[in-house]
Symmetry: C2
């Protein structure tokens, strides 16, 4: 008698899966020196240590007049200090010391002259004839002076290695004089789809679609998400419909890619050629992750025929929303770690649920939500995993623990899509 | 006697400034048909109306067995329904009607056969010999069936015109069969810096910097922010140090750009050639916006010599953080509206301040903050407008009304940088 086949597999908690996956994500060898102009979104490999202090010297935070505060004493009601302007200091000019009993015209960013101990902004001054100025307020010592090194101390580590750079980091690096930065090379990712039911948009008109056929949507959002993660993407189309051809295609992709990503074909017992092909070329683990949407997930390796190294294999569920969420919570951290990012986990913020979830789920659920005008969160009405509209409509997800209901007004953990898509 | 010169100008509320600015932002003429693959970040000009329903027919949400629920009655303790498998339905195949007294093997996404009214997931089944299956749970009618049109109804407007596309939108458009999309053309932006104190990184070593000189950092983050806003950017370097040359450079830039952006030189009474040059070529309004950081701002027009049309002129403050924040709250909405985006205002969410702000400001303040582990917000300790580190460190800003202090635990309005940088 043939042994009975069972399908049930214990569900793996997401945090365990993530830890296991990240243990495989050894940062890629190799780096690249790129112009600071072009480093947005790249991962810094060599910490940016400042060779100078910023600002280099005390400078003015305002357009106005550099003064000695003690010389600007306002003499009771109506009396205001009137002083001559002894010099003019535009930004970029080295000033003389401030002559006693005078003020200096100064502009934002210009060095404060020796002797001056406050800036009076021009809105508080009146220019009189014969090069004199009336100071209409009593300045406090130190006011509107930006101190040397206030922004950056010399020798300080200003951007740590392993940080993914944003426009603000580029400005910060430039302010220290870095014209180029050492960043991780882009992971090379090969993208496959599986599924005989898939039709590429543009190849068959909607009215001519055969029963059972659907348009392939996963490759479109997966490619865009991979690009946002800083990857170079090769779209290899649909997996060939035969085992030997699939093996050949995977072996070929492994040669010049770091990661092979497929969409579909990873459910237990599902129809497809990918699983035996990956197993023939390396190894494959099929997981059932305890999240909703997005249960099935596969991680493996495709060994290179050259005998040197392997390509990571990542298999995502074919359901669009499942694939989308699984990419965000598992593949994104993996791809960032390959680039050397230290803090790869999406961060959440406590926010107010302006909705109720009366039915809890056995799995940890990522509910698609959107900001409302009142600063709270609204739930997309259809949380089905086939409905990609929820991810387009939403601003992020609520990370809802297994077995938890939500009442209107509850504090929930919100993860903005910016933490998941950028 | 010469008239006394005064500098004080009333501060303009941000919302007024924004409204005035947006009134000038007429969407750019011209559109582009791009592959759906390449439409991430672009603005859809023609609503995507679905030519079909998604899914096209009832299909399975699980790998398992399609059944008639009434035939799977579990007969008391230990008794479980055992039924023959009459057909096998992979995705993409048109099935026969389900034979009475049988079940059909079915896979995720495959059409549900006529007669079946529920799917039992394979984890709740046991495969027996002779092509039979034991159904171990009592299915509910309709379970694990995704209904035809559940995702998208035929004729529904699925993506409105004026929406900025994300990876999710690309997937959604592809699922309706759109191989390409009609999007706004990219705004062409010319970027200038002003300021004699500015030195480009790489041209002078840190130890050789002259007193008063600082590295130019604004062009680096402004270029990156403009690219993120979907613009084509021409970096035109430092504004020439003479009035006629400045006029020539601006007139030249206006010919083939939609917008000219400058950094610095917009404070009242500030040293520079930009203001008279813009005024000579068109018009310029200098504003003092009631926000901190970021008070000065200029908007104007540079008329094209051809006599047809003009380039918008936007002047940002030279202080890095002021320039950064002003770009986000004023220029970003402006650039999005030029591309036809309807909802251009950054949205905020109520979050918990895990910090105190004991001193309020007369201006509406954008405080740089970061998420902490507890789901609350931490304040960057130095909120000075010269300190670009705050914007690199932060996850976003708290939009704090003028004259408002904050106590630990207060609800504040948080705008994530994703709303401001993407």
């Amino acid at each position: 008698m043939q042994a009975a086949q069972t399908f049930r597999q214990p569900l793996k908690p997401l945090d365990d899966a993530l830890q296991e996956l990240l243990a495989h994500a050894k940062p890629l060898a190799g780096s690249q020196q790129v112009s600071t102009f072009d480093a947005d979104g790249r991962v810094l490999l060599q910490a940016a240590v400042s060779p100078l202090q910023v600002p280099p010297q005390d400078n003015s935070a305002m357009d106005g007049y550099a003064v000695r505060a003690a010389e600007c004493v306002v003499n009771g009601a109506g009396g205001e200090a009137v002083l001559p302007v002894s010099q003019r200091i535009p930004a970029g000019v080295a000033p003389d010391a401030l002559a006693l009993g005078s003020v200096a015209r100064i502009f934002t960013g210009a060095p404060v002259p020796a002797g001056a101990d406050a800036i009076v902004m021009q809105e508080d001054c009146e220019v009189l004839e014969e090069g004199r100025v009336r100071i209409k307020t009593q300045p406090k010592t130190g006011q509107w002076i930006r101190r040397a090194g206030e922004d950056i101390r010399q020798g300080a580590t200003v951007i740590e290695a392993g940080v993914r750079l944003t426009p603000a980091h580029l400005g910060l690096a430039a302010s220290m004089g870095f014209a180029s930065l050492n960043v991780a090379r882009k992971p090379r990712v090969a993208l496959f789809s599986t599924g005989d039911e898939l039709v590429m948009p543009g190849t068959v008109a909607p009215q001519d679609m055969k029963p059972g056929s659907i348009y392939n949507s996963n490759r479109f959002f997966l490619r865009a998400l991979l690009l946002r993660m800083g990857c170079e993407v090769t779209d290899l189309g649909i997996v060939p419909d035969d085992r030997e051809a699939t093996i050949a295609a995977l072996a070929d992709a492994a040669m010049d890619h770091d990661v092979i990503v497929t969409s579909g074909g990873v459910s237990v017992g599902e129809e497809d050629h990918i699983k035996p092909a990956v197993q023939a070329l390396g190894q494959l683990d099929l997981w059932q992750i305890n999240i909703k949407p997005g249960k099935p997930f596969a991680y493996g390796r495709v060994n290179r025929e050259s005998g040197t190294g392997f390509a990571h294999f990542v298999g995502l569920p074919g359901n669009p929303v499942s694939g989308f969420v699984t990419f965000q919570v598992l593949v994104r951290p993996f791809l960032l770690r390959l680039q050397g990012v230290q803090n790869v986990l999406p961060r959440s913020i406590e926010a107010r649920a302006d909705f109720a979830l009366s039915k809890s789920d056995k799995r940890r659920e990522f509910l698609r939500v959107r900001y409302n005008e009142r600063g709270g969160l609204e739930l997309f009405k259809n949380q089905s995993s086939g409905v990609l509209t929820s991810t387009a409509w939403g601003d992020g997800v609520v990370d809802n623990p297994a077995g938890t209901t939500i009442a209107v007004g509850d504090s929930v953990r919100f993860i903005p899509f910016s933490e998941l898509m950028a």
